[in-house]
């Protein structure tokens, strides 16, 4: 009871903080409420920072009017495709290179170089190659996701406990079975450790790709609004994206809880 009471108190403070931020935003931006502190023109603050009521009005219209769903769906599809393709290729190549020392030694400098490269600059090339549809956004997301997953899996396979490995061999596992029953589960656990990161980056790839050139998606909405200096719509797009990212993160946490039951969580005292 004490605990839930403390939690409730925390929640109240969190909501109060959010409300306070929006209230301050409202008071400082809407013309005529507070005398202009910094700008000469009372409409300048609203022009640069938007007005929260109009921002919420915009979001309301999007969801009631149904315009937003198509764009959200496109962004979601791009994110998921980038995530799945990046993860599968990262796991496959990570396991392969971890188990093939020679290949790994040959590829090592190139992988480091590719990882060090700021991959967002690949976007123009992807637009040329894959057009302005979702393929170019997926490609950008894949380049971001791949390396996160790849490095984690590579590490995971190399750090499989030698005792667990020796034990599996003594129990009669063939090379193929070692891969399936030992290396793969171990690699998966490391992949899950990077799940929050990789989903987040897939999302970044999708939105940045849309923002750089597209005809649909939430990034496209923001790009369009920015073109006509409609700052309220830009903020509305940002808020929707933030909420969307939170939902994605929550979904990842759920998936993690289901799939990683075998991992000890800190504070768990279920030993018997």
């Amino acid at each position: 009871m004490r605990n839930s009471g403390a939690n409730l108190g925390l929640r109240v403070w969190q909501v109060a903080l959010l409300a306070g931020v929006f209230l301050a935003w409202h008071l400082l931006s809407v013309p005529g409420i507070v005398p202009p502190l910094y700008f000469d023109d009372p409409y300048r603050a609203a022009f640069l920072f938007g007005e929260p009521l109009k921002v919420f009005g915009r979001i309301w219209n999007w969801f009631i009017g149904g315009d937003i769903y198509r764009h959200l769906w496109v962004t979601l599809v791009e994110t998921m495709l980038a995530f799945v393709i990046g993860t599968v290729s990262g796991v496959a190549i990570g396991i392969w290179l971890a188990l093939a020392p020679t290949a790994s030694a040959i590829f090592d400098p190139y992988i480091k170089a590719l990882n060090a490269m700021p991959r967002v600059i690949l976007a123009p090339i992807f637009f040329v190659w894959f057009g302005l549809g979702i393929a170019s956004k997926v490609a950008l997301g894949v380049t971001l996701v791949f390396f996160i997953v790849f490095f984690n899996v590579y590490q995971g396979v190399r750090e499989v406990s030698p005792v667990v490995l020796a034990n599996a061999r003594m129990l009669g596992a063939s090379q193929k079975q070692l891969l399936r029953y030992v290396y793969l589960p171990s690699a998966m656990s490391w992949m899950f450790a990077s799940l929050h990161n990789s989903v987040g980056l897939a999302f970044v790839g999708a939105v940045v790709g849309e923002y750089l050139g597209s005809s649909e998606g939430v990034g496209y909405l923001i790009l369009q609004a920015e073109g006509v200096f409609d700052i309220n719509t830009v903020f509305a797009g940002i808020l929707v994206l933030t909420a969307f990212a939170l939902v994605l993160d929550w979904a990842v946490t759920l998936a993690e809880k289901r799939l990683m039951v075998w991992q000890p969580r800190s504070g768990e005292t279920e030993r018997i």
Binding site: N167, A168, L171, G172, Q177, Y181, Q263, E270, R271, I272
Partner: protein
């Protein structure tokens, strides 16, 4: 009849990967034979190469010189007739207790219902009925050891190689596990090679105790037959006069080596 396990003139030298001239000979010129159904303990000071010897017997490590024979056949690769109980955690953390116990059967391609049935039976045999869905981190150290034991014994190996399997357990749990091991072993008398640094444990369990010298270049320096009557209770047998006599005798021969090993580690 050929011995279950024969190590013939085994030498094992490790070469440092960074510096090829740095060598360490863990075991030198060691010959050891284990008869079918015999329980042999190998004792020696810490760091004397006991585990090296066991890994060679298991086929996990290739000796620099010498031959390993299993029931008369030269060993190549993994010793598939042996079950190995490791000193440290060897369970797959992503599989629950039942999944770990049945792993070996799955590797052998048994049908699902077959291995589940056998797995359940072994869970109960090691006193873990109802704990099959627990993951290793949810089990205590003693329970994890039982899972390891069941995981190995379910495959019905002809010999057991045990590397200080109970050294991480507290003394009460340990004696319980030792008695359970003796009970399981007496059911079908597999050959056992039991590595330990604990001389009392070795005498209480074994038919024979082999004493290794301190490393480097460890080799057997004593071989004692333990004629204590079976079945034994490991806690009670320690109080018999015969046990104490054997302990004094073997300890006397071991003491110098232990001190030597200790001195080397302090250097």
């Amino acid at each position: 009849m050929s011995p279950a396990l024969a190590l013939e003139n085994i030498t094992c030298t490790f070469v440092s990967r960074e510096d090829r001239t740095q060598r360490y000979t863990a075991v030198k010129d060691t010959t050891l034979a284990v008869a079918p159904g015999e329980f042999v303990s190998v004792v020696g000071p810490t760091g004397c190469g006991k585990s090296t010897l066991l890994n060679i017997a298991a086929g996990l490590l290739e000796p620099s010189a010498g031959r390993v024979a299993v029931f008369g056949e030269t060993l190549l690769g993994i010793n598939s007739r042996a079950g190995y109980l490791f000193q440290t955690e060897a369970l797959m953390p992503w599989r629950n207790a039942l999944g770990n116990i049945t792993a070996g059967l799955e590797f052998r391609g048994l049908e699902r219902h077959e291995y589940l049935e056998k797995g359940d039976e072994w869970l109960r045999r090691v006193g873990l009925g109802g704990f099959g869905d627990r993951y290793p981190h949810q089990l205590s150290g003693g329970m994890r050891k039982r899972v390891s034991l069941a995981q190995t014994l379910i495959l019905n190996p002809q010999m057991l190689l045990m590397d200080e399997p109970f050294s991480a357990l507290d003394i009460q749990t340990r004696q319980l596990m030792e008695n359970e091991l003796l009970e399981l072993w007496s059911a079908d008398r597999k050959s056992v090679v039991f590595i330990t640094h604990d001389l009392e444990e070795a005498i209480a369990l074994s038919d024979r105790v082999v004493v290794l010298s301190a490393g480097p270049e460890a080799h057997p320096i004593g071989d004692y037959r333990i004629d204590l009557p079976r079945p034994r209770d490991v806690a009670e047998v320690r109080l018999t006069p015969m046990f104490l006599e054997l302990l004094a005798e073997i300890w006397h021969s071991m003491k110098d080596e232990v001190l030597k090993g200790y001195a080397q580690q302090r250097r």
